[in-house]
């Protein structure tokens, strides 16, 4: 079954299709949440909550909103940022600064971590700091191009060409 058909089935509340989509994207969603809240167990819980939300809101998705992955990525980011802003979380974590997704490489001291840091490092091999920063803003924090331009004090055109160059470098690393 192709992705479009799978998503349509999922929107008809077909749990088999949903399980398939879960298998395809759960690691990604959990990963993005983890890079934002940086709490191992809590991110796993939140990840489950996000999928409950996706299931409940399935009828609000349509292709005009972009790729299915983009849609659930957005739900996950918002949920993680909400979590970060909530007081309960503030009490648990002192360091609330929003560093980049690469921060998990330094943050995670848990020896039992399942993070595929080797994979992450090899994907990001040779990438400049400004690339990592831009990828973090756009993919992990959900900035719009305008917000990213303001944050980095660069014209929108530059944001576009830079992200193209950065992702191309990761694609080259994948093929190594």
């Amino acid at each position: 079954m192709d992705l479009d058909a799978l998503v349509k089935q999922f929107q008809k509340k077909d749990s088999y299709a949903f399980e398939k989509l879960y298998g395809m994207y759960a690691e990604n969603i959990c990963g993005v949440i983890y890079t934002i809240i940086k709490d191992h167990e809590r991110s796993q819980e939140l990840c489950q909550d996000v999928f409950v939300k996706i299931w409940a809101k399935s009828d609000t998705y349509d292709t005009s909103k972009g790729r299915f992955f983009t849609w659930i990525l957005n739900i996950a980011r918002n949920a993680a940022i909400d979590e970060l802003r909530s007081k309960t979380h503030k009490n648990n974590k002192k360091n609330l600064q929003l560093d980049s997704f690469v921060g998990i490489l330094k943050h995670d001291k848990d020896l039992n971590t399942k993070i595929d840091t080797i994979g992450l490092q090899s994907l990001l091999k040779g990438l400049k700091e400004k690339c990592i920063l831009l990828i973090d803003l756009l993919y992990f924090k959900g900035y719009t191009q305008k917000e990213a331009a303001e944050e980095l004090k660069k014209p929108i055109g530059t944001i576009k060409t830079r992200i193209r160059a950065c992702i191309s470098e990761i694609r080259k690393n994948r093929n190594l």
Binding site: D14, S15, V52, I159
Partner: protein, 267 residues
Amino acid sequence: MDIKKYIASGILELYVSGSLSPEENLEVQHYAIQHPEIQKEIEAIEVTILELTAATSPGLQKDSFKTLKSELDDVIPFTPDSLEKRTPWTTYLGWAASVLFAVGMLWMYLENDKLKTEIEITEQERQTLEEQIRQAKEVLVEKSETEQLLNQLRNKDINTVALGGQTVSPESYAKAYWNKSEQKVYIDAKGLPEPPQGFTYQVWSLKLDPLTPTSIGLLDDFADNELLIFELENPNESEAFGITLEPEGGSEGPNLEQLYTLGAVGP
């Protein structure tokens, strides 16, 4: 539109990250539908981002979907079991059933074919038997006819007259069996040669004093008469019988030059 330039612009990367305005989203979708290269590029970018984000995953809890599913039932119930449970064994059962059905159909077809062949054979046998019966009946009829004829010839009232060969054909001979009371004459023409094309034998009843011939019939279909015994009516007070060769259809009076056989009736 320059597709390569469009791809190089970086707009597709922003499309995947969800950083475009709704209008720009629609524009990208429009071009992606029109140009397969753009659609392919979007998918390639997405695969890269999927790999990148998966690399940051803290891992999933054991049986995470099962746990999720139990939570989902509280939110919006799953679709009925029939739709939901597509466990392999039901699929296999379906396939097994259809295979069984197909095999069954094939068996039925072959059985049917076999029966049809059997019916054909039976029909052929029936026809053969009918043919045999028909032939047997014919034989019986012929036999009874022959028997009847024999009985006629053996009748005590029969007067047998031997007809001897004459000048035209000294080798020829014939016999007349005359049943006076029934006014019938049976001519045994076995000793006569087959008449030439266009001619036939004519049988005459003769009064001798004065010599008066009366035709009593033709030996028509000579070649087809297997027994060569002809049955003729004879109401005359015959004193002799003669057989002449006449043109087809017979003559008013006998052509004595073509007299084949002749014999007088005994006392």
